[in-house]
Symmetry: C2
Subunit: 356 residues, 2 copies
C-alpha cells in the first residue's frame, strides 16, 4: 500500500496489514468530554467555549448525516479549518464502512442512535480528579462488553475518538504511567507548557501506582472506555486504534488491564508523525510492541487553505481520520490522491451548504 | 432441521433456511414500555404492577449477565414461571450468538451498554394516543439507522422484543390496519374481551388511513422502531422477526413503509401456533408473504413445572425466545432436546441463585 507507511514494529505492522487487507471493517467513534477543555488556550476544537461542548456530538452527526443537528454549522474554525470528521466521513463513505457512535460522557447527546454507557462527563483535572475510580471501573467493564459485541462481527474494529481537551488528559495518563511523553495539539503553537503545568499539578494530588486511581485522577472517560473495548475486541479480531496522542494514553492504560498486542495497531495521519513538538513513535515504543500505520495524506497539495492547514500543523488528526483513511485504503484500495479529491468535494459541499 | 417447522409460505421458508444455515447470526432485543400494561389484568409479565416496568431492563440484564441488576431477582411469577428470556439466553449462549440491546422507550434503563434512541415510553392507549406522530417518524428513522448498521455485519439479524402489555397495542395496530386479528397472551386465560374493548375504543379516537397516525394512536414505541430496523436491514441481509403477535403488527405497519419480503421470516415458538384463542398463521397470511419458522420446543417434557407451563398455555413466547432457539438450531445444529436440557440446568442455576 503505497500511501500507508509502517513505523515502530515494522514486521508486525506488515503482518497486521496482510490480515485485514480487503476484509471487512467497522468504524466506532467514542464521543466524550472533559471539563479540562474549558481551560483557556487548551484546544482549538470548536470555535469558542460555548461551542466546544457540542463538538463531539456534532462530529458524530456529521459522520452520519453529512450535516449537524445539535448545532447549525459543521465544526470549523472561523478561518475555515474544518473538523477532521470531514476526512473520516469521506473515507468511510467511499469504502462503505459501517459506523457506530459510542457515548462515553459527551456533554451534548447526538441526534442519532448511539451506544450509551451511562458514563458522566469528566471533570477539569486542573481542579480535581477527572473521574471517580468507580467510573473508571465501569467504563472499562462497559467498554469490554461493547468491544466484545463489535469485535464479534468484523475483521477489523477501528476505534476513533472525539473529546475536546483530550490531549491534555492523555498527557496526564502518559506521565502518570511514567511514559516520557511529548503530546501533539490541535493548534499550531502547541501549548506544551500549559499542558505540563496542569498535568504536573494534577499528578501531585495522589501517590499510588494503582492504574485505576492514576487514570481516575488525570484521565477522562474516553480512555478507560476505549481501553475496555480494545481489551475484549483484540481477543477475537483486529483492532486499529485511530488517533494520535490519545491512543498512546489508551495503550499505556491497556497494558495494565490487558489486551492482545498481536491483533492491535495504531492508525494515524502523517501530520502526527511530523509534529516536532511531539515524539509519537518514540512514545509508543516505550509503551508496548504495537505497530503504527501512517496514512500519508496529501492535504498539502490541496488548493483549499482550510485543508492545507492540516499539513501546516493545525488539527492534524481526530475523529479517527487517520485510521478511517487507512481502513478505506485497505478495504477497497483507495489512494491518497482520490481521498484528497473526495475531501475537497466534500469541503465545497459543506461550505456551500453553510452559505445557503 | 427436524425441530423447525415451516408454516405459511413454505417454499420461501425453506429457501430462507438454506440462506442462513450455518451462517452468522446477530440477536437484537428491543426493550420498550407502554402504559397500557398498567391496565389491571392485561399482562403476566412481572409479578405485580410495581415490578412490571422493570421487566424489559431485567430481561436485557439477564441475557447479558445471567442475573438482573435493576432488580434483585430474575423475572418469574410467584409460582415459578420464568421469563422467556431464559430460553433466549440458553440458545444464544450455546450458539455464541452476539447480542445487542436497543432501548426504544423502556421506563427503566438496563445496567449495560445499549443502543439509545431517545424515544419516550408509550402512553396507555385506553386513555390517549400511545405516542405522538413525530415520535413514530423518529422511531422509524432511528430504527432504519440501527437496522442498516446491524444488518451490515451479519448474515441474519434476529430481532426480539420485551414490552409488557405489547400484545394489546399489537392488536390495536393489527385492527387499525384492518387485519382480522386474534392475538395471543402471556396468560392462560387470554383477556380477549378486555383487549378488544381497549382497542376498539382507541380506534374510535381517529378516522384516517395514514399509517403513522394509526400507529401513533393505538401502538407503542417498539413497533415503529422494529419496523424501521426491518426496513433497512432486509435490504442488505436476512431478518428473523423473533416473536408472535407483536411481529404480526410490525409486518402490518412495515408493509406500509416498505421492506424486503424475500429476506424476511418470522421465528416463533410452537406455543404461539398452538394457541387456540389466537389465529397467528392466518393473520400473517392476511398481511404479507412472509414464512413462519416454528421452533418445536420440548418444554412439555420437562420435569420442571415452571417450564412445562409454557406448553400449557402460559407465557408462550417473548424476548425473542422462539427466534433465538431457531438461530441456535440453524447456526450450530442444536436440537430441542439439547435446548431443553440446557434450559433446565439454567432454571436450576437461577432458582438456586435466588435462594442464596
Amino acid at each position: 500500500m503505497q500511501d500507508i507507511e509502517v513505523l515502530g514494529c515494522v514486521q508486525q505492522g506488515i503482518d497486521f496489514i496482510k490480515k485485514i487487507k480487503k476484509k471487512n471493517f467497522l468504524f466506532s467513534l467514542v464521543i466524550s468530554y472533559t471539563e479540562t477543555c474549558e481551560i483557556p488556550g487548551i484546544t482549538v476544537a470548536g470555535a469558542n467555549l460555548d461551542f466546544v461542548k457540542f463538538t463531539p456530538a456534532a462530529d458524530a452527526e456529521f459522520l452520519h448525516y453529512g450535516n449537524c443537528k445539535c448545532i447549525d454549522v459543521i465544526p470549523m474554525t472561523p478561518d475555515g479549518k474544518p473538523t477532521p470528521a470531514i476526512l473520516t466521513k469521506v473515507a468511510l463513505e467511499a469504502a462503505s464502512i459501517p459506523t457506530i457512535i459510542i457515548n462515553a460522557g459527551s456533554k451534548v447527546l447526538p441526534n442519532l442512535p448511539y451506544l450509551e454507557t451511562g458514563i458522566k462527563p469528566g471533570k477539569n483535572i486542573a481542579l480535581e480528579a477527572g473521574l471517580d475510580r468507580d467510573s473508571v471501573t465501569r467504563a472499562v467493564e462497559y467498554g469490554r462488553i461493547i468491544g466484545r459485541f463489535l469485535g464479534s462481527s468484523t475483521d477489523c474494529l477501528v476505534i476513533g475518538e472525539s473529546i475536546p481537551g483530550g490531549t491534555t488528559t492523555a498527557l496526564g495518563v502518559l506521565k502518570g504511567f511514567d511514559v516520557n511523553a511529548k503530546v501533539s495539539s490541535s493548534m499550531l503553537s502547541n501549548p506544551v507548557k500549559l499542558k505540563n503545568k496542569i498535568v504536573d499539578s494534577a499528578l501531585k494530588r495522589f501517590d499510588t501506582d494503582d492504574p485505576f486511581t492514576v487514570l481516575a485522577n488525570v484521565g477522562d472517560p474516553m480512555i478507560p472506555t476505549v481501553s475496555g473495548m480494545l481489551s475484549s475486541a483484540s481477543e477475537s479480531t483486529n483492532v486499529l486504534l485511530a488517533g494520535g496522542t490519545q491512543m498512546a494514553a489508551i495503550l499505556a492504560f491497556s497494558k495494565k488491564i490487558g489486551f492482545k498486542e498481536k491483533n492491535t495497531a495504531i492508525g494515524t495521519t502523517s501530520y502526527i508523525i511530523e509534529d516536532k513538538t511531539a515524539n509519537f513513535v518514540e512514545m509508543i515504543k516505550q509503551i508496548c510492541d504495537v505497530p503504527i500505520l501512517v496514512a500519508k495524506l496529501k492535504l498539502a497539495e490541496s488548493e483549499i487553505s482550510g485543508l492545507r492547514s492540516y499539513a501546516e500543523g493545525f488539527v492534524k488528526e481526530g475523529v479517527g481520520a487517520g485510521g478511517a483513511s487507512i481502513a478505506s485504503m485497505l478495504k477497497i484500495g483507495l489512494d491518497s490522491s482520490t481521498l484528497l479529491s473526495l475531501t475537497e468535494k466534500e469541503y465545497q459541499r459543506i461550505t456551500l451548504q453553510s452559505q445557503t
